[in-house]
Symmetry: C2
Subunit: 322 residues, 2 copies
């Protein structure tokens, strides 16, 4: 009986996770559970009209499956810079032909309910704050460490977007003013040390001297090394792979420390592929961050993995309206 | 007549600037003018009781001079970490024997009006936001570049204190993970490149090869070089002095860029001794910050000098209650 009462007090929202290749949508309840979801190709190459059509179809499917449940609204996580007013999505990477699309207004017109659009990294940060590893931390830095390095800032339980909506881009904090050139044009960005491309290149270089490392078992050949392969080899006990990830973690720790010092934060939550890695990576990040923050912060620095994985996109998007 | 009406609509507050050697107080009007001020030795060596006594005396003097004008309250800028609740000042550098003193409550008890206490760098940031170089910028990073490098964050017109009140400590952002050791224990903090001690040491080193630089005219001897002397020589056209300051500015730009990327800010305001330096310093900071921020930020990066100088402390403190 109690359980039934609890169930009936749940609210519902639709979360949409727009990616370069897939648009995912889900029916999310206020307890943080995705009750049903669907995925469509996002048609990123066919221009914004096709993509918006896919988004609408993905939402329509969930509205249908919601089966009359009252919905609080629709949240959308999109790549690129998002202007809250009108839910305008600007120049999303991997979606061709976009300049500025008022996605929120467009979806609102069709579905006649509250619509919120947010940058995808921010949406994932919101997901971890509401439903994941950040539930007990009102202030934390969320980092996505994957192809690149992105992030979001949760301040006082809410996303901090900054004056232009792009806050949290920690991948381009320079950890060495005279370091390697990043694709953004600057020198020494942390992404230029630990982004997918750079990590793979670093692995290939080290493997020339350590041909027996297990990384090659997972990657097949030097030119095909992905961070996932390094991670898999590390999990299988490969010392070289561990060393590469520990080194990368210590680079990330320097950038994290810059944010901790700036905002007087203590907690970082790391998402993306690496969140599945072992403690040694998180220990390395933590140690490096501690070494680079001011004394009063040192003892309280916490670096933990995100827990929502691929669901973070849908959950965080729905979290915008729940 | 109109002027009289304007004058009579002014509100008043008392601002107190607590330093290691002096406690300054002033009567500040809501137009940002210090109408009268006084200064007493802060008695920092005699322990908190003596210091608090001096603060009360400095306030009493201004209350007297206010001559019956209605006062909005008392604001105090203090070194160290400040906990807003109770106006607790924790371990202020240069004030011996303090641990945690509930300064705000103490002053409130005596004067029976609203009292706000804030970290001194934050108070200076507030001063520039309300009355100075930041009036037209709702979001900016304030940097104090003097003996050390400190700062404050103005977000949406208000000071951003962070969850523990210590936000804005940009002096200890590492601009080189493998750089020189800072007194805080970390490597490559921007303060370890451009703080007073390091700047002087750098100048002394360069002067060994350039004995005809005018820096020595101002400093007298190698061991006595202060950033002020370098700045004075630079103003007098000395190329070596300029080169040192331009180099320092470009280091500062890297740390500023980290904050701009993190918060999606565009504007930095530089206070402390260097704010009186020539354009070449600000140009160097700007250029370096531009080189280290993400593309969408590059064209909008603004770095300007603070304009309130030594008055910022009193003005910002009063700004807490005005």
């Amino acid at each position: 009986m109690e359980r039934k009462n609890f169930m009936s007090s749940l609210r519902y929202g639709i979360g949409v996770d727009l990616g370069g290749t897939t648009v995912k949508s889900g029916l999310v309840n206020s307890g943080g559970k995705i009750e049903t979801q669907c995925a469509l190709p996002s048609l990123g190459d066919e221009g914004p009209k096709a993509v918006v059509g896919q988004i609408k179809q993905a939402i329509q499917e969930i509205v249908k499956r919601a089966n009359g449940k009252s919905l609080d609204g629709i949240g959308i996580g999109a790549p690129g810079v998002v202007v809250k007013e009108g839910g305008v999505v600007k120049n999303p990477p991997n979606l061709s032909g976009w300049n500025e699309i008022p996605l929120g207004d467009e979806i609102q017109k069709t579905f006649q309910m509250k619509v919120e659009v947010e940058n995808d990294a921010n949406a994932a940060a919101i997901a971890e704050a509401k439903f994941g590893a950040g539930k007990k931390y009102p202030n934390f830095l969320f980092v996505i460490w994957g192809t690149g390095v992105g992030g979001g800032i949760i301040s006082d339980g809410k996303i901090y977007r900054g004056p232009f909506g792009g806050a949290g881009e920690i991948g381009h904090i320079s950890i060495n003013y005279n370091g390697p050139k990043c694709k953004c044009g600057a020198k020494g960005c942390v992404e230029a040390y630990i982004g997918q491309k750079h990590l793979s290149r670093r692995a290939a270089k080290i493997l020339k001297h350590h041909p027996r490392s297990k990384i090659l078992n997972f990657a097949g050949e030097l030119s095909k090394i992905e961070p996932l392969h390094i991670s898999q080899a590390a999990e299988a006990g490969d010392k070289i792979a561990r060393r590469i990830l520990v080194e990368a973690g210590s680079f990330l720790g320097v950038a994290i420390a810059a944010v901790m010092n700036t905002l007087d934060f203590r907690v970082s939550i790391i998402g993306g592929g690496i969140s599945a890695a072992g403690n040694y990576v998180f220990d390395a990040i933590t140690e490096s961050a501690k070494a680079h923050v001011l004394t009063p912060l040192k003892n309280d620095i916490i670096v933990i993995p995100a827990v929502l994985g691929n669901s973070a996109g849908i959950l965080g998007a729905a979290g915008l309206v729940l």
